[in-house]
Amino acid sequence: MKKFWALFFWFWPIVALWVCFAAPGRNWWFPSPPKSTLGHQIDGLFYLILIIVALTFVGTEAALGYVMWRGATKDASSKAWFSHGSHKLEIIWTIVPAFVLVFISLTQLDVLADIRVLSKFPDEAKKGALAEVTARQFEWRIRYPKPGTMLMTDPQPGDLYFVNELHVPAAVPTMVNLRTQDVQHAFFAPKLRVKQDAVPGLVIPLWFEIEEAGEYELLCAELCGWGHYKMKARIVADSPKGVSDYLTRLEAEQNEDGVAEAPAGEESAEE
């Protein structure tokens, strides 16, 4: 029975390693490879941490199993060795993890700066926000500036509005301003690996560069109320021309006055 426990603790690191290697092939992994430039860096950090954690887990479990195996096979009359109070051991297990943590925090600094620090945003994104994305229970309200103008913090005459669909240019670093009308929400685009909380009272600039045109899911990743699960929208990445055409169409639609295009000069009051 004592040996059982040693085998038990040796069994789990094997399972963990198997899961690490088998997961991608079984579709237990990310929804897709990263589709934004920052996504590659974020995945890099993820894998780095995964490797450190996996090695630590395998190492500690192997040691634990070894100690138990020794205990199980040792003759019952031999004396135990008490490690309690050993300064040497304590120093080792404080310093080693401390180094690991410092290493991780230093390594991620660059990525964090790329994501968060305005002065490090790509020039293209720094030019101005494409749109304002306002989260509210339970939808995403989008405001674009009137084509040809800059986005302002307060709504301006001519601003264009839409809901649950954000059009952005592909292959161009793009900034949006994130805010919330009520509680905390989080802007989460899984395939882009973009995740940012929306905090009441703050306007949070957020940038990403989507690599290929296409449609990407936008979800809320902050439990924001009973309708949280519904808070789903779509990000449409298109060519820059596609986006400006879209905005032109949106502008025309928003100025719709319900009078059908009449043949020149004619009053268009159809019956």
């Binding site: 101005g128 800059m150 100025n255 009053e267």
Partner: protein
Amino acid sequence: MSKALRLRSLVLTSALALSAGCSDFDSAFVYSERTTNLMPEAQDGFEDAPGVKRLVDDKFGNPQQLKAWLKLPVDFGGSSATVGEIVADAGGAKVKLVAVEGVTLPESAKSLQFVSGAAAGQSVGITAWDAKTGEATLASLPEAAPVAGDACSVDGGEVLKQGRVLYMRHCSHCHGSSGDGNGPTAQYLNPRPRDYRNGVFKFTSTNDLSKVSRDDITRVLKYGIPGTYMPSFLLMEDSEIHAIVEYVRFLSIRGEYELKLVAELTGDYSVKALESRQEKRSEIVDELKKFLKEDMPGAATGAGDELAEQWTAANTEEARIIPSVPRVPDTEESRRKGRELYLSKTLNCADCHGIDGAGNGPQTMAFEDKAHPITGVKYSEPGLHDAWGNLNQPRNLQTGIFRGGRRPIDLFCRIHAGIKGSAMPSFKNTAHEDIWHIVNYVLSIQFESEPGSAGVAAAATPAPAAGAE
């Protein structure tokens, strides 16, 4: 639907949908309080003279077993056909169907509903289907066997059934399974979710006296109602939106039909009316029985016809509001005119919306001379009320949030037709050009530095992009 199918109804059992794993709800349509305020005999009727409840159920069924009253302008789904010949064989029955003129039979088919003949109202599963020849192998032949020439519908009611499943999943927790606006989350919301049962919708593109159009409901579904809890369902497939829109129409018409039937009875046979009647109860019951037997069937048919006509008419061009002049250019001059009209004695928008548009005009502080539509009790709180008996605050126009949409045509319709069911009246007699001036003014209120400054753009602060951090 072909003429042969009119005036008949067909039962859509949900057996198929249920066996496909959609049994996540088990619900009933609840009757209006106006129905339950009738004397019990009027609600339940007599064996040979149905009361309100049975009359409604006969035409609409319940969520598990919906009925399609084919007279109504609701797309229940299905392709109309007639039975060509019947080939009975050992393993079931084979029928050959002939599509009604102008209809093409679908590529795949799950069920067949008989609309006329001995088997009318019955639904059978289709086990094998050949769209080219119209040959359908049926799971079983109805006991009262159909004969050649009977009208039927392939996959009849599929749209309505899909609508019900989607509605139960996405809408019923707010709007209630019967569309009474009383789902479990409703009590936490202001404004309350729409109660569809009086057939009144606020944000329509139709004239003040017309019903809502399909396009209007579709718009509300896609874009939501900003400033309220009605969310946007933009990500739904068009076919799903279509199915839900038809289901909402179905629920609305059901509710209205019920109200129309109750209206026939409420004067003489409500619990309240009984209190003031001198006759013996048995005499009243006899009188009621006679009424239900002789007059009610005609009234019910009339109510159905009227509803069919109104809900059809709402989708026609005649019902739509089309401004006779295009939008007047949005100049300072036009906004000033708009503001003058806004404040004028004749239109007096300010009486409700306030001089500066903040939604706090004198009428919001006055007691209304109106009673709650169901309880009949005068309101004890000051302010305006809507057709559902809820407090109805005039919109604060300074927020720039327009629930019915912010396109100029949206606001034109709001002013032209009013907001149906709400306290906001129709201004249809106002010249269209003047309405455009008002629209221009209303759209500028948000940007006014002070009331009447004709919308000089608010001091603009650039978004934090450039400056912050």
